[in-house]
Amino acid sequence: MTLPEFFGCTFIAFGPPFALFVFTIANDPVRIIILIAAAFFWLLSLLLSSLLWFAMIPLRDVLAFGVFFSVLFQECFRYIIYRILRSTEQGLHAVAEDTRVTDNKHILAYVSGLGFGIISGMFALVNVLADMSGPGTMGLKSGTEIFFITSAAQALSIILLHTFWSVIFFNAFDTSNYLHICYVVGSHLFVSLLTLLNASELYITTLLINYIITIITGVLAFRVAGGTSRGFKKFITCQ
């Protein structure tokens, strides 16, 4: 792919997370540390998933197996980071200059979710972006020209989803809302397995379903974080 295509895809996938980072994370060192820590925990989950994939030689070719366990590992590590953050909350409260981090428990959830999302989006897309270097685009033997743009959009949806999932997930454990926990794990599994359909070039279908789920999850996260339709209306009408 060519340089304009490369930048186009990078902007699509990482533009929104970058904006989030600039306006909500970058001005608070504690949030940056938590973001990086969350990214590190996601990498640990990836390590475990790959070890499992490597060990299960007969199942190496069955992608669904790897996907299933990878999702489980990611959710386990989301729980671990939840436990860690909750147990260090008092300490954070003492060191943080901006006490909003601990005052509003959703901020921690949001920051760690974005950390999860960014690193997972990077792993999803960087392989593709790296292979794109060169003068060509997809479509010579198989694949379509929109492959790169759909990959970027897919990566973006995963990044946003991880952010939303963390917000819902953290709150669900705080309030012992098992339905929400099930929803997070279930929708994660569903979205991940959905990408397997891309092998038969059903890009539009998967992308559409993906974004519907992203919106539903986003709305749920909004509700969980204390948003109301009244507030939303006020926001829209600029009151």
């Binding site: 533009g15 997809m138 973006l156 379903i209």
Partner: protein, 693 residues
């Protein structure tokens, strides 16, 4: 609900399919195998081609008829293009028009191996090596191609192209290109600019530029610790051997001349073509090499012992020169060395041979049409007359039935062969040249192969080293190439026999056509052949079933052809000795596998001499003087080609603008949301209270 279930099912099905570990890159690019044209430089110019540093990209366009070119040369919709040209349209005028269109419109030229309509294909000049021969306008007149030494020459080998030229030989690869062109490009030419098109990228960047002087200066200039090479001089090895072993006089005082008298028999070892690693030079030099080898073998077997010659100081020196296609590199060096009494090389031992030791030189030039051979000499001398008579004695003799008539031409219209280097030093040098009327329409090209010379391997598995009776055709047809080579080499060898012994040859044994058969097979079809096996050490690893590379190349190049010639000459020009294998280790004794692989110890005479132009030896040589060959070859890091889909500008701009729009929108949105979050999340304090309460 049923819809969701269907999706789950589909996903599970997909998941159980075996995953292919295929990278995105493999889906985007398809490598194309071929041979690339590369850059050579001489004292004043650069020739050949080079891609841009990162590779040249062009949209494929198949040229079937000349009119198809107009589309590319006019105002093509989505430049640059890469025309796929069949050989019959690969003409000088077409290439020059493509060159003029420049790299803006034409970025790559692909030559496809589709020889159906091809009538001629020679990229050499009309007058090969015009500026390094004897200085006479009579030698060759480029303004009159019909009377030149290469009437079909286009001279493209000496042009500089601003784009890479890539030759694709294999049917499979050509089909890939054609299919891709048909599928993506060959429709709606007007909308080319809006669509993704099938394109090729060729990487063949040449690091040398301008001319040899500049490039050697850059190479020799130590500007960094690593030291980078931009070009290498064309360099190889000449092979020589004598029919009688020379008396090795280890106590000879250095620099003293010998009183030996030599008849010098020479021919050319190398060939040239536009593309790297392709080009056999069948008619332009393998045939003469075959004649040369046959003459050597026949002379060695029919000559009496040296002591019984009328003059026992006489000997025959066989030399085959390398790099002759590039301004006579090998013979220039030979002349230079001989002038300085540096021949044979010191490592080979033996006293130096000077020009005075050479009685005369018989140069075997190109033998395109074996029935039409002339004996050329600069001036009509008694020597030339005598040799012509001797040649014709055997050529016309009813006893042998060769039925060849050798004519003579005593003028400055001298063919472009090694003898020119000798005549250039001294026009009175007794050089005689056997050369046929030029009929080779594929001179110095990739199509000068076994088909061009009509060679069919007889593969008789019989002994090819022994001489045969003149009537024994060994199942070969009288008009076959092998028989023609046998005839002419017998004539030459018998004439030389007569010059050496002073007596007419009365035997009936002549050269063995099977030797020509085997040699041609080795050099044209496969180096894994009986002759090469016989002339190797027993149980040597088998050679690749490909013909040896015959381009002179550079230092560190394959040098296959000089290596094999060295062994073959060594084998055929040596005498068998009854010495066991253990004691047969020190040169000139050499152990060969032999024809029937039994192993034979032989007393050999062959050796190498260096074929590097004297221009690279002389300090402060004036590169533009034209005195010696100055050819160098540029270095390169890789040759590769791959096809892929080149995205249209529309597609690229769309992707980029979508990206930028997403970026801007998200920045605005996130800024607004984060600055007004208290409006969105108005009942936050309550939940905080729940947590910290």
């Amino acid at each position: 609900m049923s819809h969701a279930a269907a999706i789950w099912l589909l996903m599970l099905l997909q998941g159980t399919l075996t995953a292919l570990g295929e990278r995105t890159r493999d889906k985007m690019y398809e490598p194309i195998l071929g041979a690339s044209c590369f850059r050579r430089l001489n004292g004043t110019h650069q020739t050949g081609c080079s891609s841009t540093y990162s590779g040249s990209v062009g949209v494929l366009h198949l040229i079937n008829v000349e009119a198809d070119l107009e589309f590319l040369l006019g105002n093509p919709p989505s430049p640059p293009y890469a025309p796929l040209i069949p050989p019959h349209l690969f003409t000088r005028s077409n290439l020059m028009r493509l060159k003029e269109a420049g790299p803006k419109n034409i970025s790559v030229v692909l030559l496809i191996n589709n020889a159906e309509k091809m009538k001629q294909f020679s990229h050499e000049l009309n007058c090969p090596n015009q500026y390094s021969g004897i200085n006479s306008s009579e030698t060759c007149d480029a303004s009159n191609p019909a009377n030149s030494w290469n009437p079909w020459g286009t001279g493209l080998l000496h042009e500089d192209f601003p784009f890479p030229i890539y030759y694709i030989a294999e049917e499979k690869e050509i089909d890939k290109l054609k299919d891709c062109f048909e599928k993506f490009n060959n429709k709606n030419y007007e909308t080319h600019a809006l669509r993704s098109l099938c394109a090729i990228e060729v990487k063949s960047f040449m690091s040398a530029a301008v001319n040899t002087e500049v490039c050697m200066r850059r190479t020799n200039f130590i500007n960094n610790l690593g030291g980078s090479k931009y070009c290498d001089p064309l360099e190889g090895r000449n092979v020589y051997a004598t029919v009688y072993p020379r008396n090795s006089t280890p106590n000879a005082i250095e620099g003293t001349k010998t009183d030996e008298k030599f008849i010098l028999v020479t021919c050319r070892l190398d060939t040239a073509s536009m593309f790297d690693g392709v080009g056999l030079g069948a008619m332009d030099s393998v045939v003469s090499l075959a004649v040369f080898t046959q003459v050597a073998n026949l002379l060695r077997q029919i000559l009496p012992a040296q002591s019984s010659l009328p003059d026992p100081r006489r000997n025959v020196l066989f030399v085959t020169f390398n790099g002759e296609s590039y301004d006579y590199i090998g013979s220039q060096r030979f002349v230079y060395d001989m002038d300085k009494l540096d021949f044979p090389p010191k490592s080979a031992g033996g006293s130096p041979i000077a020009f005075e030791n050479i009685e005369f030189m018989l140069d075997i030039g190109t033998l395109d049409d074996i029935a039409n051979i002339k004996l050329h000499a600069l001036t009509g001398t008694q020597l030339a007359q005598k040799l012509l008579e001797q040649l014709n004695t055997y050529a016309k003799s009813p006893r042998y039935g060769f039925n060849v008539n050798i004519q003579s031409e005593m003028s400055a219209h001298i063919p472009p062969t090694s003898a020119q280097s000798f005549l250039r030093r001294d026009p009175k040098f007794p050089a005689l040249i056997l050369n046929a009327r030029p009929t080779n329409k594929y001179y110095h090209s990739i199509y000068d192969d076994s088909i061009n010379v009509d060679f069919v391997y007889a593969n008789t598995s019989q002994d090819f080293t022994q001489l045969v009776e003149v009537g024994d055709f060994k199942t070969l047809k009288a008009e076959s190439l092998q028989m023609k080579v046998r005839n002419i080499s017998s004539i030459v060898a018998l004439a030389l026999y007569q010059s050496l012994t002073g007596q007419e040859y009365t035997g009936t044994k002549v050269a063995n056509p099977l030797l020509a058969d085997e040699l041609l097979y080795c050099f044209l079809q496969s180096a894994d052949c009986p002759l090469f096996k016989a002339s190797s050490y027993p149980e040597s690893p088998t050679a690749l079933p490909l013909p040896p590379m015959r381009y002179i190349s550079v230092l560190g190049g394959s040098q296959e052809s000089s290596g094999w010639t060295y062994r073959v000459l060594g084998y055929l020009l040596s005498q068998q000795k009854k010495i066991p294998k253990e004691n047969c280790t020190i040169l000139p004794l050499h152990f060969f596998a032999g024809y029937n692989n039994t192993g034979e110890c032989r007393l050999t005479t062959q050796n190498y001499s260096h074929a590097l132009s004297p221009a690279f030896l002389i300090d402060g040589y004036d590169w533009a003087s034209g005195q010696y060959s100055t050819w160098t070859e540029s270095t390169w890091s890789q040759f590769s080609a791959r096809i892929f889909l080149r995205p249209s500008n529309v597609h690229q701009v769309t992707t980029l603008s979508v990206g930028i729009v997403v970026l801007i929108i998200s920045f605005c949105l996130v800024y607004i949301i984060s600055s007004r979050s208290e409006v969105l999340f108005e009942d936050l304090p309550a939940s905080n209270a729940a947590l910290f309460g």
